[in-house]
Symmetry: C2
Subunit: 407 residues, 2 copies
């Protein structure tokens, strides 16, 4: 298949690009490199050294002899170029990672809130309109988030895959209706994914577009079977307070001897997935799209759930790192239970990669190898959900003189 | 109160501006005059002659001695200017009509779809972010649409005012939950109003903004007690296939001897409100905002429901005009029943202006007075919901030589 990977330069997009190429698909990355621009804005860098896109693509070509295409294009701003790309390349599938993806960044200030909405909503809508205008039969696979559901909304019922059966009272008795699970987003970023859902529902219904929306958990890990082959192919490892995901941050913190940063009580239970499973799920999703005329196919892309504090304790115990309880910059419940259905990917053959010492070690090794690149002033989360909320001081002002050796 | 009316140059915005000014509020219109630009694009004009904003405001000043402010500003593009305006003017309330409001226009082509989303979503989000950033306590009243609910979704249950009580099955029995009524938009325009709802819910919850969302029916009529005072204050009368609303179109068609254009079977039942009630509802809404920390207050702004064919038959019978059944350019159910709750505005004292011969005559008189300005080639609706859908030829190629005299 010919596949466009929108946002193919990012943390999930790049390993997906390589995985799909490795499986024999003809892949073209579409990306405006905005993730690199945001690094510049935040004065932070991926812990792992990320090579320019041209070098990444050359390295893959050397290694595998395969060409990966690259188009530097802003989905929100360059509709005509994107439509022309569809007409010229006639892709079978589009994988859409092309959105600003960090909740803390989306709450950072007015500019970031506005950028997140303006970029994500316009970009996604342009993709939909361009598919319609092209007249091509393209299956769209979008990366959503578990955060569209919120936490603790449905009591002891596990979160379903997108749709919820409810009973609606009427004068003639109860009607059973299957509805899109009510939206309970916790940040402007999550809100944009709830807006995406409504746009997908409309274009699936009005235009018969074939759309899969993947509600993904928090991704952890760094390397996949492809990114590990050559240092020039290495994936991002974000550890900063805006873009770092919680488990990766703990592993990196342990690697440099920084206290593990638990914001609030740590009672938040969240859904997780390893980056190796992300790329497999995308492969399964593009191979199993819905029929034209069906409603949006929603799949929960998660493999396990954990309480944040349990993760911190586990890593703290193994590595001898202490836990620091910091003020929570988010407005969210202190504690919640969480059960999530993920039957669909299991039925399609996904073998879940669950939390294991081997994978934790791999991640810690990557962190240790590049720990000299860490800036300890970037670790504490300071993007607050409302003006005036308390944040912590830095816990470490400089890196320890002797950093742990990678194993 | 000091009130900003966003979109105060439009069909609902201008009479609202005059009504609020007449009630003693200090009103500033914020508008980029985009509605006038779209007239130029569509090569059509309001049947009634609309004066430049400066002249409208001067006429009101002459008549009433009151100043109405005007700021020409694009909400989607000029965030910083809008924020500065809030900081300088410190309004008590904002009435937000500043969105592209025609369903057919929003389906016209890719450019119009994209404009509707880009303009409406960014504009509304900018308003929310600016209120937060200003730190001011401003009540926001937004004009939504009955179209967010869709038609025929809840069986014989009347459509509630925003929120629906449903039962959710869990392993421990059924949970009762009050949810935002599921979104079933019928066009890109209606879709943007469902996106607005989710943004409002987030900002009410995260930032304690005080937001009222008015789900308005199809507006008919032209004049209010204020616009009728001077021809320079006259309101828009849109009759074209994109912006004309159904009842006004029938009245105008009858006035020029054009067959009444029923698209499809006419079995569509819709909710209606007269422009005189629109302006009263806005007055009631800004006087009765929700408390900070409450969820979004949703009020259905409608007074009656009618089947489109019944309206056509009634007007056809009275005026001796035939009905033309044309292909429906929309994708919608051929027929639907509709019952709507509108208890809130009734409880606040609204005296509904229902369909009456006097008001129909007033509207027909306005249409007849300006019928020489009509372009019969603009009457048939040709913005189709999907490429290739059938549309009708013009039913009248030129205006009759002797147009009816206004009574």
């Amino acid at each position: 298949m010919k596949v466009l990977v929108l946002g193919g330069d990012g943390f999930c997009g790049w390993p997906t690009t390589l995985h799909l190429a490795d499986k024999g698909h003809d892949v073209i990355v579409v990306d405006n490199l905005s993730r690199r621009d945001i690094d510049i804005e935040l004065e932070v860098e991926s812990l792992t050294p990320i090579r320019p896109m041209g070098e990444r693509i050359r390295a893959w070509k050397e290694l595998r002899g395969q060409d990966i295409g690259f188009v530097n294009l802003d989905l929100a701003e360059e509709y005509e170029r994107f439509l022309e790309l569809l007409r010229n390349e006639r892709p079978d599938a589009i994988v859409h990672f092309g959105e600003q993806r960090a909740a803390p960044y989306s709450m950072r200030n007015s500019k970031a809130k506005r950028y997140t909405v303006d970029n994500n909503v316009r970009g996604t809508h342009n993709v939909l309109v361009a598919i319609v205008e092209s007249g091509l039969d393209i299956a769209l696979v979008h990366l959503g988030t578990m955060g569209v559901y919120g936490y603790g909304w449905s009591g002891t019922a596990p979160i379903p895959e997108g749709y919820l059966t409810v009973k609606v009272p009427t004068p003639d008795g109860e009607l059973e209706r299957e509805i899109l699970h009510p939206a309970n987003p916790g940040s402007v970023y999550h809100m944009t994914k709830t807006l995406d859902q409504l746009m997908f529902a409309f274009y699936a219904k009005n235009d018969g577009l074939r759309i899969t929306d993947l509600h993904q958990g928090i991704v952890w890990g760094t390397q996949t079977d492809q990114t590990i082959k050559d240092e020039r192919l290495i994936n991002r490892f974000d550890y900063d307070g805006d873009y770092g995901t919680v488990l990766n941050r703990f592993l990196m913190q342990a690697a440099i001897g920084h206290p593990l940063t638990v914001h609030g009580t740590g009672g938040q239970t969240r859904a997780f997935i390893h980056i190796r499973d992300t790329v497999r799920c995308i492969e399964l999703a593009i191979a199993n799209p819905p029929e034209a005329g069906s409603r949006v196919l929603v799949r929960n892309q998660i493999t396990e759930t954990h309480r944040v504090l349990d993760l911190a304790k586990m890593i703290g115990d193994v590595t001898g790192t202490e836990i620091a309880y910091l003020p929570n910059p988010r407005r969210e419940a202190e504690e919640n239970d969480l059960a999530v259905r993920n039957d669909q990917f299991l039925a399609l053959g996904l073998q879940p990669t669950t939390l294991s010492q081997g994978l934790l070690d791999e991640c810690t090794d990557v962190a240790a190898r590049y720990s000299h690149r860490a800036d300890p002033a970037k670790i504490v989360s300071r993007s607050v959900w409302r003006a005036g909320m308390e944040t912590a001081e830095d816990l470490l002002t400089e890196l320890p003189e002797r950093l742990p050796e990678p194993q």
